[in-house]
Point group: C2
Chain length 368, copies 2
Amino acid sequence: MTIASPSASRVERARRLLDELELDGLLVSRNAAKRHLSGFVIARGDEATSGFSGSLLLTRDRQLLLSDPRYLEQAASEAPDWQVRRTRGPIRTELPPILAELGIRRCGAEAEVLSHAAWTSLAAASAVELVPIDAVLTELRLRKDPAELRALEAAAALTDACFAHLVGWLSPGTSERAVAWEIERWFREHGAEDLAFEPIVLVGARAAMPHGRPGDAPVVPGEPLLIDFGCQVDGYRTDVTRTVFIGEPSGRQRELYATVLAAQQAAFEAVAPGVVGTAVDGAARAVIDAAGFGEAFTHGIGHGIGLETHEAPMLLSYDRPLEAGMVFTLEPGIYLSGEIGIRIEDDVVVEEGGPRRLTGAPHDLLVI
Amino acid sequence: MTIASPSASRVERARRLLDELELDGLLVSRNAAKRHLSGFVIARGDEATSGFSGSLLLTRDRQLLLSDPRYLEQAASEAPDWQVRRTRGPIRTELPPILAELGIRRCGAEAEVLSHAAWTSLAAASAVELVPIDAVLTELRLRKDPAELRALEAAAALTDACFAHLVGWLSPGTSERAVAWEIERWFREHGAEDLAFEPIVLVGARAAMPHGRPGDAPVVPGEPLLIDFGCQVDGYRTDVTRTVFIGEPSGRQRELYATVLAAQQAAFEAVAPGVVGTAVDGAARAVIDAAGFGEAFTHGIGHGIGLETHEAPMLLSYDRPLEAGMVFTLEPGIYLSGEIGIRIEDDVVVEEGGPRRLTGAPHDLLVI
């Protein structure tokens, strides 16, 4: 273990929870938390089924990474600070003897991540008391450290470059699906580990669905095109939306765009350490309300982003003060069913002196 | 609702569980089961966080699809047989009033899918008795119906075509990572919805890691190249492995390849309706044991495949009779640490008359 390991101070913070919550051990099951604390990466597509493999077990003097035979070599190389322990079966047979060996009697575990079957079978198979620790574990990833910010900045720069490429590449007649694939192809061929999520690419009135899926609809002159996309670099993600126009927008379209842009700027200017999250949502909502479209802004202003695309803080309901190091999206939108959807979304970091946009793609109404 | 809807008979079979288990309702939370019964598709990347949205609630006379505002339009179009009910909050606040409205007092739910927090909060917020139904719901997807087999055949044909493309495309010096990306790019540009999983592409001794991740290692003459890959068409997946040689293999390499191939053929010939799953595993293992490499075949012979890459039956432990319509992989391997890894994997369907390979890519030792 070296002092320089980015995970050492994270593990130290996690260990403090043992005293604070009077626990003998922490069982970490969420993939993002596994990577945050150890460096171990669960492959894309394994997420749904690999609840157990790669789980971390942290005590005051030990740190074990539990791995089935498939991941042993990878775990040893990716998580050098952790002792890799080979497991074979499911959590209910594998974990109780290890908990006993380490003298763990009260163990923190993620009730929002472990299945009900895993939790109850584990509780039944050992004398260990399981204590839900979802909220406190989430706290550990709430403020990004310098290594995390570097990865977020790299992902943001790649996302800006992808948008610049798209602006030159887009032309009328291209389908939503083709644009989505061009985003994925470009990201993967320019160094992204993966997408942060499937791109949302919607033409005209289809953009009134905030989570619509790209289809065969072609980009057409006179209609806006909403592009919501993001990538992943060293595990860290972006989530950016731009709404561009193919051919000259109408006066009403310009007005709606200007309203969303003003709301986004108002939210940005409201961000500062000590400001409660809900106030940032309120700042954007006030602008859209004043323009008469309050009902058409149907979701919250933004969500935390990092190793997960959606993580804490959710600003709409975050009634605590923002802190330096928090990173989240600011993404007001106006959705008018049958007519149009416009959203503008940046990723923003809270710094001591105020907010800073990680996203650098231009905001001005863009006519292609 | 039309008679022709592929989901109608599936829903009918699910409804029979209500009587068999004396339940008033079934809550379906697993993404694959949601799609199987309703047609509703959760976007890639949403899987980890969308435990609630798209959940199905089935009673004797009602079938509801619960959707938050993001998915309303998509749900209505993808799942026309289901009544879409708008929800906003988490399961513990949204579901209890709906359960009460429908008169549900005993409700089946998936204990291996719902988080412990979701299950316990739901149990606490309503008077409904929750009954685990994981095993019986899995049974509903065990035998594939004609529509499912058509999708599996289409995915298998695309996978064969991708392999044929790779054979012509591969050349010494190409990195594992570049091969993996070529697979993904080719699949996506030729009609696949998605990959079934991240391709495993490993050169020489690196292939001794059954789940290694592709890296910068180049394809080199004299070394085998293991390629484990699959795609998804209309939700249905493939999982195929070929081990090819770049330049002439040694006599020992040829011998190992012939052993794995003979084991794969032995497993295939063992498949028939009425044969227990473990016997198929045993047939392959006997061949590898006899060649003296039993210790080097470190995993089971295969797993079911369909809407999930890994689903029932797991042949290594499936001690029940195989049935017509089951689809699974047959994938024996020999892994010698520091030396080599060889695996040959096909997707196979059980038919009344015996087994049929869905995978058509050639088995002969291939020298590129």
